[in-house]
Symmetry: C2
Subunit: 157 residues, 2 copies
Amino acid sequence: MKLSTKGKYGVRALFEIARQYGQGPLSIKEISERQKISLSYLEQILHRLGKAGIIESVRGPHGGYVLARRPAEVTIGDVVRALEGPIALSHCLEPGFGSECYQADDCVARMVWTKVGEKIEEALDSISFEHLLQQYHGKDRELVPGKKRAVAGKGAC
Amino acid sequence: MKLSTKGKYGVRALFEIARQYGQGPLSIKEISERQKISLSYLEQILHRLGKAGIIESVRGPHGGYVLARRPAEVTIGDVVRALEGPIALSHCLEPGFGSECYQADDCVARMVWTKVGEKIEEALDSISFEHLLQQYHGKDRELVPGKKRAVAGKGAC
DNA sequence: TAATACTTGACAAAATTAGTCAGGTTTGTT
DNA sequence: AACAAACCTGACTAATTTTGTCAAGTATTA
C-alpha cells in the first residue's frame, strides 16, 4: 500500500500553487526549484492536474499555474485520483470491468475492497488544501539559528 | 492505489481457512484448487501468514492450515499488513526512516500521509473474517439451475 | 521577441510484482 | 521402518510498472 511519487510530488506541487493563491500564477520552474522536482517530470504531473481541471495555466511571460478553484475546494483525493487513476483496490472494481470475475455472484472479496476503497476515498477527500495551508501557517515560521528549514537528505514525503 | 495479488490471494485463501474453522486443518492443495491459486505461490503466501501468527500449520498426512485465532479476531488489516508490509503511504513514514526528509520540520505532506494512513488502517481493521463469513452465509446459497457459482473468467477479486 | 506554457513521443534504468522451480524437512500412517 | 502427505526454504526469472530523461516543436502574450 504505497503511493507513487506522482501522487506525492503532485500534492507538494499543488501545495506550492495553493500557497500562491490570489497572487497570480506560479511557474513550473519556480515549483521545480522550491520542491526539488525535476522540471520534465513536473511537466507531466501538472499536465495531468490541468486535464483534471484542478489547475489552470496562464501562458506567456509571468505565466504559470493557478488553482482552478478555491483551496478549500481542492482535496488530496482530487490530486490522487488525477495522478494515480481511480482508487480501485482490486482490478474487478475498475470501470469497464464487467462481470468477468469467476467468483461470479459469490464474491465476498469484492465487498471488502469496495468498502475499504470507500473509506480511503473518504479519508482523502476529507483533507483540502485549505487545511494544509492552515496547518502550515499555524506552525512556527521563525528561523531560529541552527534550525534548518530545508536540509539535504535522502528523500521527501 | 492498488493491492498486490499477494494481498488479494491472501484474503481469499484465509477466507477458505476461516470457512473451515473448527473442522480441522485445510490443506494447501485444497485451497489452491478452490481459489485457483498456484500451489507454489500459495505456499509463499501462507508461509507469511504463518510467520505473522495469523494461521498455524498442522503437519503430516491430513495436515494443513488452521486459523490461529477466532475468525472475529482476524481482520483484513492483519492480512494486508502481513503480506504487503506496514501501510506507510510515504517512504518517510516507514519504520527505520529517521529524519532524513529534507523538508525537515516543515513537512506538511507527512501530516497528510500519516492521517490518511490511519484512516486506511481503521477501515481495514474494521472488517474481520467473521464479518466475511456472515456476509457469505447471508447470501442465497441455493443453486438455482442456470445460476453458476464459479464460472471461468478473466480474473478474480 | 523573449519568456513561458503546451504537446507528443521515444527511450531507458530501476524497482517491484508475480510466479516458477528445485530441492529440502517434518510428521503421521501403515 | 518406510513412505507419502504436507510444510519449508531460497534461488531464479519474466513481465510489468514506475520513475524519470530527452528532444523537438507549437502556441500565447507581456
